[in-house]
Amino acid sequence: MSKTDFTFNNVGENIDEFRSKNKNKSNIFLKRNKKKAIGIKLPLNKGSLENESLFKVNYSIVEQIRDNLKFLLSVRKGEKLRDLNFGTNLQYLFNQTSKNDEELEEIAIEEIRSAVNSYMSPVVIDDKNYFVILKTFNMEKKLTNLNENTIYTLSIDYEISGISQTDLDILKNNYRQSINNINNLVSDVKRINVRFSTSR
């Protein structure tokens, strides 16, 4: 290849090419600045986007708090280093054969309420306080096909107070979810489901 045949197409693009390619994205720099990660997204996945580092991340307070709640409920007490009260005893509870479903439900509600009160009221993110308010609790019981195991599904409805207007805007724009009580700065009711498979 002679010197005159050499082009720079394969090594990048000049500013004109960049602008023409992104002419419909006039606020691209602005958008990048706005999209700040909040915390690590569960379940853990390798990060791939520009703002992500090792793991995929949440960009919304609401999603982050949902992941935190999942995390809290799925960790067993004693599993977390240095904080042996972190988590719940739900796994142990649903494997107990001496209690009927009503008792189980009652104890599970208390377990979850206690954990949330201890660790998520408030949730401090970036020096701001957010409060998880538990609304309703529902427990469903289902047998597997082979009738060997029972699957308990806990559905927990909750709200988050202390959400800022910006948080709600991001929630609305990015995830196209309906927002209630915008004026009260409280998120709409969210639900998470936690399943326990037991041999009861």
Partner: protein, 616 residues
Amino acid sequence: MSININNKLQNSRKNKVVNKSFDDFRNELLVYAKSSFPDQIKDFSSSSLGGMLIDFAATIGESLSFYLEQQFDELDYEKSNITSNIISHLRKEGIKKNSSSPAISNVTFIIEVPVSSNSNIIEPKISSLPIIKKDTLVGTEGGVNFTLEEDINFNFNYKQTNGSFDSSGDISTLILTKKGICKSGNIATENINFPNSERNDFLTYKLNNEDVIEIIKVLDNQLNEYYEVDFLNQDTIYKKIHKEKEEDLFYVDYAAYRYVTEENFLTGSTTLRFGNGSEKNLVDDILINPEDIALPLEGKGYTSNFSLDPNNLLKSNTFGISPKGKNLQIKYKYGGGSDDNVSSGQINLLNKLNIVFPNSINNLDSDTDFVVNSIRVINEENATGGSDRLSIEELRQNIPSIKKMQNRVISYQDLLARLYSMPSNFGRINKAAVLNNEYTNLSKDLYIICKDNQGFYVNASNGLKKNIRSYLNEFRLIGDSYNIIDTPVYNIGFNISVKIAEGFEPITVINNVAFRIEDIMRFDSFQIGEAINLTDVFNVVVNTQGVVSIISELKDIITIKNEADNFYDEEEDEIYVYSSNILSVNEFLEDNLLYPGRVGIFELKYSEVDINVRNG
């Protein structure tokens, strides 16, 4: 004037080099995350995964900090927790032994000897007077053995009382008593062979018994004696020349065959470690020509500074001769402990007798048999000093005092401490004092005084003075010189007239006064140069029940006894002998304090005759 605020801000941030607690690390990591990754993560709440990862990192930091701190603590003997490290500290500070210590008792040996038929004076038959040799074993019925530490020579300085009488009523035997120091413990001998094929240069041997008190002798099959030294490169020891009727004489000698003892502080076992040198170099070691040291400088027109080690100056094999290829016999004493502190009277068994009759032509005649069979022992005082092995923690408490120790004499206190802690086989001094020499600043006067077997002050023998010279020579600074001088002893007496109150028995009051003067004034504890406070004597007398007042003048109550006061008491059959030193009370009495001249010591020798108290 403008100020660059940026420079100030840069310098105001304080970087912590090492965090210690979990919270310190967590806060530091949070600050770092917030400042370095503000767009990547914000949620470090306690319920979040991010918070948990931060907790993990902080926990690791705290753990590392803990171990770092622990390692630093182990470098300090006060904070060290690991036993092996504490033992290292103990060895580093010079603590070498942790065996139980033996009890010591002054045991009285009692023998019965025939009376000499060749003399008009009643005295023992010379040929029947024995020397009970050291290593004689005495013991208790409970099984505690004591070993005699010194020869007891009955040829002089013994106490004599009448023994039995013959049919004609004449004294036929005399009872002689003399005391000797005995230490508790058992003696053991072990034989060991170090084959020629042994590879290890510094050969060791672990003794079979624990709590070794002392190694008595180590001999090889060529009768070379191995000497215990503090370090293997210490090549000199004190050697003893035994002299009859005098303290043993010590001199410094080269110790080619030597060993060190290493004690296991936990088990109490003792290991002997020998040198690694070859015997072939032995002659060179001793007879090396000092001129050889100067050879490297020959032919040069200049010299440069160089360092040298006095131990290597002879270029000798400085770690001693190895016992490789030899049979060794090791004799040692072991045992001791607090159980050995037996009460008075308990040491009454003679377990093994080591005796000679130096004046007898035939050691086995009937007289010597009679003497041997008559020997009895008794300890009139409790055995003391026995103690059990110290715990590691107790040993650790000893480190501060060991650190202050030094192996040289710098101050007066060092010198006195050295003298008082001189090994007993060098001889014993009772009191010592150091004064500047009146005529020169280049030397100090070291005044010493000893006690005889009756407890009276007596001048030190020449042998003892030579031993002190040899002993101090190893610790003194090169420019120090001491004149070892006998301390003048001034015998004192008291003449006191008192007025006794009515209703009191005069004899009782007088006896009480004499007794209180002797008991309360504690003349035995007077130091060299210490003055007697006559006001104290006055107070003691006045405060005795029944005494109204003292009639005598204060300056007249004390008198100096001297040769002119010697007398023989026929009733008691006792000779009272006083010191020849004279002191003028008027000259040395100052503010009611009587000083013993420039240097001297007061002694109340015969209290029963030297304290005279009169009524009126």
